[in-house]
């Protein structure tokens, strides 16, 4: 492939540091956070500015070679998995915050900017960027845009798409378009809204205008322990029905609590289920709502209740929760995370069924989830060295996805379809819907080059069923923490 005319063209654009073609160089890009899939690209290019990105897309189009644009590769659905013999466009060097306008409360950023860096930059102005995926200290805004990333605090203020006002985008053939603008209100079809969550199939976002919010005056976080997941679920129902609108409502089960303990020494009580509820806003309002919340929680007969009194205590509660994912990696060599959504009133049914499936497969499942919006996160534990273990884990994962669809929900709340769930999208949508999506994709990207094989099942991207840790993890370069 190295003598392919496209690579030759790239070698005229990129120096050898920024055009990677040797197997040892490519290894780091072979998979993302969904380590079960691996694929070797033909080359990785590392552009430094938007002009290079545009030219790269134009050349890929001209030579009819598929490409994947990626940031930090934290996708849990294989969204940034390379395409065999395709190009990986690593956007990490487009990491400038181009403008931070405190008066208009917006930040204009390049796609490689890390999520948390936006809030860091906005902090001196009393502002922050609301969406907070668990991986926010490494994941990039470009990836958040592609997958409409969520987080624990989406309940009140929504996911990435609710915070993107405008974008400059390179369509898959390199044509550049402006979508949206700087106003909270749009004109014509909501094109930024349609682009967000399109999983890289519509091209590459070159500049993104984000909405910033004033940092809440205060937070009140409560942790309540229950003797069953069902009891914790009932508490959620009571909180939601009360008319309170918390910033976050989270549940963790015993196995997830154990993982959080191992991974972050969160100091959680060792119980069957934990509920975290957080209120935010003005001091006096939060105080009044908190009194109401505590009364509600007392009525649900918790085993124990802890309140975060200080910023440190709050941070500790969240550290355990946010570390739970990667910490599960300490309990088993491998795991698959699902993020299906069920109607909130069916949470209890869904958890009972997952429990039953877990027992019948003899596979441990840890549950950490955004209970406030019905977004499950079952972590399916397995040991990939065992013959057939991955296949059985995937089969169980598939049953959980079908369960979510059967209950009237969705196969993904925030991780996206990616590589992993593309076989399940047609279970959620009928043939007409699938055709409409394929038609739109073909119309936007006539050669289906952009992230081919993701989201829509018709793609040709192949995956090697690989088992075990990430290549970099094996090499001792990264750890799942």
């Amino acid at each position: 492939m190295n003598d392919h005319p496209l690579i030759e063209a790239f070698s005229r654009m990129y120096d050898s540091e920024r055009l990677l073609t040797r197997p040892a160089q490519l290894m780091a890009y072979e998979s993302d956070a969904l380590t079960a899939f691996q694929q070797r690209p033909a080359a990785v290019v590392i552009p430094q500015d938007r002009a290079e990105v545009i030219e790269t897309l134009r050349l890929c189009h001209e030579h009819n070679v598929p490409f994947v644009a990626r940031g930090s590769g934290t996708s849990l659905s294989g969204g940034s998995l390379p395409i065999a013999d395709g190009i990986v466009i690593a956007l990490n060097r487009l990491d400038r915050i181009l403008r931070l306008d405190a008066e208009e409360r917006i930040a204009v950023v390049e796609p490689g900017v890390i999520n948390l860096k936006v809030s860091d930059a906005a902090k001196p102005y009393g502002l922050y960027y609301a969406p907070d995926p668990s991986s926010q200290s490494i994941c990039t805004i470009g990836g958040n845009v592609a997958f409409n990333s969520g987080g624990a605090h989406c309940l009140k203020y929504g996911m990435t798409s609710n915070h993107v006002l405008g974008m400059t985008v390179a369509l898959p053939d390199g044509e550049v378009v402006e979508l949206g603008g700087e106003s909270l209100e749009g004109f014509g079809p909501d094109l930024p809204g349609f682009f967000v969550g399109s999983e890289g199939l519509f091209g590459v976002a070159l500049e993104i205008t984000l909405r910033l919010l004033p940092i809440p005056q205060t937070y009140r976080t409560v942790l309540a322990a229950y003797d069953s997941l069902h009891a914790a679920g009932d508490a959620v129902t009571a909180v939601v029905a009360s008319g309170l609108l918390p910033g976050a409502i989270e549940i963790m089960d015993a196995l997830a609590i154990k993982a959080a303990e191992v991974g972050a020494k969160a100091g959680y009580p060792k119980v069957p289920a934990l509920l975290i509820v957080e209120l935010e806003g003005e001091e006096s309002a939060v105080e009044a709502e908190f009194a109401q919340l505590m009364q509600l929680i007392e009525e649900t007969s918790p085993l124990e209740v802890r309140m975060a009194q200080t910023a440190d205590e709050r941070a500790r509660i969240w550290k355990g929760r946010k570390a739970a994912f990667s910490a599960v990696g300490r309990l088993a060599p491998d795991y698959i995370v699902q993020d299906g959504v069920v109607p909130r009133s069916r949470l209890g049914d869904a958890l009972a069924e997952i429990d039953r499936l877990s027992a019948s497969y003899g596979i441990e499942v840890a549950n950490v989830f955004h209970a406030g919006d019905g977004n499950l996160h079952p972590l399916i534990l397995f040991d990939g060295r065992e013959e057939g273990a991955l296949e059985r884990a995937e089969e169980l994962a598939g049953e959980i996805l079908e369960l979510c669809v059967d209950l009237g929900g969705s196969i993904t709340g925030e991780h996206g379809v990616g590589m992993e769930k593309r076989a399940f999208l047609p279970k959620m949508y009928g043939p007409l819907e699938m055709q409409a999506m394929e038609d739109v994709r073909r119309s936007v990207d006539s050669r289906s080059l952009a992230n081919r094989g993701k989201m829509l099942p018709a793609g040709e991207a192949e995956s090697l069923s690989h088992v075990g840790p990430h290549p970099l993890e094996k090499a001792g370069v990264i750890f799942r923490e």
């Binding site: 008066e103 409409n148 749009g186 014509g188 809204g193 349609f194 969550g197 009044a288 409409a436 936007v444």
Partner: protein, 373 residues
């Protein structure tokens, strides 16, 4: 051409296509599913916003973006297609943020589902968002699913009067950058000076205290408020009722919606200062201008070139506007002064030319059955 409740007549005027047909969706109405404990509902496109709002209110719930023109008969489908959000959009987001699922008929006559019925869903392309503001030009909406929120048990509004726009904008900056949770921030010129309305909501027992804190922030800007007043209960509710129904719009004026940002406002005001009869209200913290635009002369005759004047004004300001009420008539302003036959279009100002939109439209409507974008 699709028509619903007729509250935005400029969007359903017979257009220049001779053989265009009008499809009246006002009978395609009714709630399909509403489960208050899920905080979601599904209704047919022709369902009136006012009917839905009443059903939600009975359960202590609401659409927080204050859908406008409900009192004039607006339907859910029309509100989505026109992409309209009202003052309450400031707090939790606009109609784009609350629409979670749709059914639409594409250009080939196929009914297609987009999104879902759960509050969080990242599966597949986000067709619900695409259809917000699509004006029936990408497909015909037949059914909609929204998420809703619990309605705050009480609201209070602080009104502040200022001598001039500069003072008001300074107070606007102070209040919108503060850490007070604001539900709505609107302003308009009064007989003398300008008035700012700031709305907060929540538990009634602490609302007074919060309103006092808000008054302090409003008057902390460099521009001194001439007068501060606090509205509560029915009086407060009717302030925002007026905003939703465009009750301030003088009879006979057209209505144009213009998205912008606070920074653009001084130049816009400067440009509008010549036309004394243009009444207006700024909403969503200065992110939206509702413009009442005269389309008749003082003698009551139709001004043929009214929209065209506004069209060129918006072009000069590099803004875009959409005419909702009144005659949508503009000349083709291509810069060479060649105003050939008047083109009927509710879209004013900077043209909507977008390769992404063109590509999407050609997939959903390959034979060009709908009005082109």
């Amino acid at each position: 051409m699709v028509r619903g409740g007729g509250s935005k007549p400029a969007l359903s005027l017979p257009n220049c296509l001779d053989d265009a047909q009008t499809l009246d969706l006002s009978a395609l109405k009714g709630v399909v599913d509403y489960q208050p404990e899920e905080y979601t509902f599904t209704a047919r496109a022709g369902t009136r916003v006012s009917e839905m709002a009443a059903l939600l209110a009975a359960e202590g719930q609401y659409l927080p973006f204050d859908p406008p023109l409900a009192e004039r008969g607006a339907t859910l489908g029309g509100t989505v297609a026109a992409g309209l959000s009202g003052a309450g959009r400031y707090r939790y987001g606009g109609i784009r943020d609350f629409l979670i699922g749709i059914r639409f008929v594409d250009g080939r006559g196929q009914e297609i589902r987009g999104g879902g019925t759960v509050v969080k869903n990242a599966a597949g392309f986000d067709f619900p968002k695409l259809f917000v503001g699509s004006l029936g030009r990408l497909g015909i909406l037949t059914e909609l699913t929204f998420k809703v929120f619990p309605r705050p048990p009480a609201f209070a509004t602080v009104a502040a009067e200022f001598d001039g726009l500069t003072d008001l904008l300074s107070a606007l900056d102070a209040v919108t950058r503060s850490d007070i949770d604001l539900h709505a921030v609107d302003f308009a010129s009064a007989e003398e000076g300008w008035t700012l309305w700031v709305r907060i909501g929540g538990l009634p027992n602490v609302l007074q205290e919060r309103a006092r804190a808000l008054q302090t922030v409003v008057s902390a800007g460099t521009g001194r408020a001439r007068r501060l007043s606090l509205y509560q209960d029915q009086e407060e509710e009717s302030l925002w009722q007026t905003a939703r129904s465009m009750g301030w719009l003088t009879e006979g004026l057209g209505l144009v919606r213009v998205p912008l940002t606070p920074r653009r406002i001084p130049a816009v005001e400067e440009a509008l200062s010549g036309s004394e009869t243009a009444t207006r209200r700024y909403s969503v913290g200065g992110n939206l201008l509702w413009l009442g635009w005269p389309d008749r002369t003082a003698q009551g005759r139709v001004k043929q070139d009214a929209s065209r004047d506004l069209h060129s004004l918006l072009l000069q300001q590099d803004l875009q506007g959409i005419q909702l009420i009144g005659r949508a008539r503009r000349g083709t302003m291509q810069g060479n002064g060649d105003n050939r036959a008047d083109e009927e279009s509710p879209l004013l100002g900077r043209p909507m030319q977008n390769a992404f939109l063109r590509r999407i439209a050609s997939a959903l409507d390959p034979e060009g059955k709908f009005e082109p974008w």
